[in-house]
Symmetry: C2
Subunit: 385 residues, 2 copies
């Protein structure tokens, strides 16, 4: 494969966009990325989406969005890997460009979740889990994560408040991100008193649903190496791995083996290690997932993820800054779009465009997107050229 | 991209498999392909599926099926392009191997449609069309195709019976395919008297739904060139193109411009033309689509597709044999799996394994898979090494 680079990015505000259709949301992010890149006619389109067939009655989003953004006759396809759909689409696009099959690819992650009432969305999200052996037993998606968190607290001796720094950090960073869904500082007291959803997960452990789209344009690295202007971003590492779909089938349900495997491969491909990462946009759908992701990728010892929050190591000024734009927790989690928001945010960090939450001198960034309760995990490492 | 080859194939019988789950169906085809290929541990899995979230409540089929077939930690993802999902997954797999990103890929197309009553399936299939501008107006998927067929008959002066040879040929060939859903010879009289679905499309113009899975293992061509035994199959051409999602947005709704574009690119890549194709597995979801596909790919003049049926040119012994294993019409159309059935069937023809419907001396075969009413179209050309 030849090296590839990200030439342009775009994103919408995450909100309850009742006035915008799925195609309008996707189009806004896509056209922003196209404009930012200067590539007027990307050759291929890769769309990440999970819920549109269930919530919008719309399949075939590849052709659907290609049509809307004026990519008539271009190759276009949708990739789905539950909440990991965004990064999975990004990887499909980058492999297509890296292979030489095309000279440019537009990747769009898009999700519209708020047009239906809560029950429908909860049922739709549960399609990420095992329909026959998990959902059939009555467990919801948040319920599965609650079981994992409860076991983790028991196994490693943490109390609920120890997870608070993950959410407090995410909310504090989101204040400075105009695209974030939530702009509200939260305190430890609020975290502890928040409404329970599925014990021990309360409202402030959980990321909010939302409508949004994020996009990027990928081109061969050789095309951007000599361009003047702002830093150009190389995709230095890309890997995808899977684990059992049902959490109960895992030898160790407290270890994200697909995070471990995909991070290991991405590190090797990029020729870097955990210590080299300046900023890490991880998949904090629930606070427990922050801990598990940090551990599986080698940023913390097994069972010690919450330590990084308690010791301020996850802050923008810390050893391994996470959720610098608000993370899933406060930027919001439009599921099939999330992976692309992470990529876009890492690009913003490497370009130095993050204002008060800019990680000083960031040169190497990592994004990790998780589908289901750890069943599909994609890790990408970006670096300045 | 390096050249790639198909080393193994597998498929299930298409039927109402109420006794088999989605994972069991996919597993049967996948393990058959793995066994046929001799590649014990494919590095990646690409799943083509359209309806599982809607009918089975199951998303994330990449991890879901990787788990079931023992590909723990392997990269796995689902690709969806409505009824073109199977070939779209195949193309994703082949690009991944061709890029050098992996040394082997398993591709599985799978669909389970018969567990729900007819109304649900009709609604689910309509997600291939434009939800806002077609489905919202009350048109079903068969309704859209009926409008196209009516216009075609009016424009070019054909009567309904002129389409009969497409269905008669498909049914005659399916008799000899043990994996086909329907094993029933049909006559012109039966075709003319068949129950109307959406005028002018009657029951014998339309392909049946079904449950089934088909799979293939892709490897670099250099790996198979020197292997002894049966003919090895090179993927000589692969292309995907799109058209507007809504039929009414097209300048010419009677021309499949995405079929034209993808066939043109696949022909160029393979260095062949329409005259070189020995066998063509096309997407006869409705008889009108056979005519449109033959025309867009250069096998017939505009408006003259039915001529090929009336003149016996589509027979196994004709100039351009189509639907040699029964086509969508009689082999069956488990939507997300169909594209992989077509690939598997072309491989069978090139291996000379088709018994009474073997195309004598077939060396170059073509498969064309269509998503929606022509919105996503993929063309693949296979040839013996």
């Amino acid at each position: 494969m030849r090296p590839v680079a990200i030439l342009g990015i775009g994103q919408t505000v995450i909100d309850e966009h009742w006035d915008l259709s799925l195609r309008e949301l996707a189009g806004e992010a896509a056209l922003a990325a196209i404009h930012d890149s200067g590539v007027e006619h990307p050759e291929g389109l890769f769309v990440g989406n999970m819920l549109s067939p269930l919530i919008g009655g719309q399949n075939q989003l590849g052709a659907f969005i290609a049509d809307w953004v004026g990519m008539w006759r271009a190759e276009a396809v949708k990739i789905e890997a539950a909440c990991g759909s965004g990064a999975a689409a990004f990887r499909a696009g980058l492999v297509s460009v890296a292979s030489g099959e095309m000279e440019s690819a537009l990747v769009v992650g898009v999700e519209k979740m708020t047009d239906k009432a809560g029950h429908d969305v909860t049922a739709a999200l549960a399609t990420a889990a095992d329909a026959d052996y998990e959902v059939e037993e009555g467990v919801s998606f948040v319920g599965l994560n609650a079981l994992v968190m409860r076991r983790y607290m028991h196994e490693f001796g943490w109390k609920h408040a120890d997870f608070a720094p993950f959410s407090i950090n995410a909310h504090a960073n989101a204040i400075h991100n105009p695209h974030a869904r939530l702009h509200e500082i939260i305190t430890l007291e609020q975290f502890e008193k928040s409404s329970m959803i599925a014990t021990p997960i309360n409202l402030l452990d959980a990321s909010p649903v939302g409508d949004g789209a994020a996009a990027a344009v990928i081109v061969p690295a050789e095309k951007v190496a000599s361009l003047p202007g702002r830093p150009r971003i190389l995709v230095a590492g890309s890997a995808s791995a899977t684990d059992t779909i049902a959490v109960h089938s895992r030898k160790d349900p407290l270890f994200l083996s697909a995070a471990y495997a995909s991070a290991k491969r991405a590190f090797e491909m990029a020729g870097v290690g955990a210590n080299d990462i300046d900023v890490f946009e991880l998949h904090d759908a629930f606070s427990i997932m922050s801990a598990l992701s940090l551990e599986a990728c080698g940023f913390a010892e097994r069972g010690q993820g919450p330590r990084l929050g308690l010791d301020d190591e996850i802050l923008v000024t810390g050893r391994i800054p996470i959720c610098t734009r608000g993370g899933l927790k406060a930027r919001g989690h439009p599921v099939g779009a999330t992976g692309m928001y992470q990529i876009v945010e890492v690009v913003q960090q490497l370009r130095g465009e993050c204002g008060p939450t800019q990680v000083e001198g960031a040169k190497i960034g990592m994004a990790q997107n998780i589908g289901g309760s750890g069943a599909t995990i994609l890790t990408h490492i970006l670096r300045t050229l």
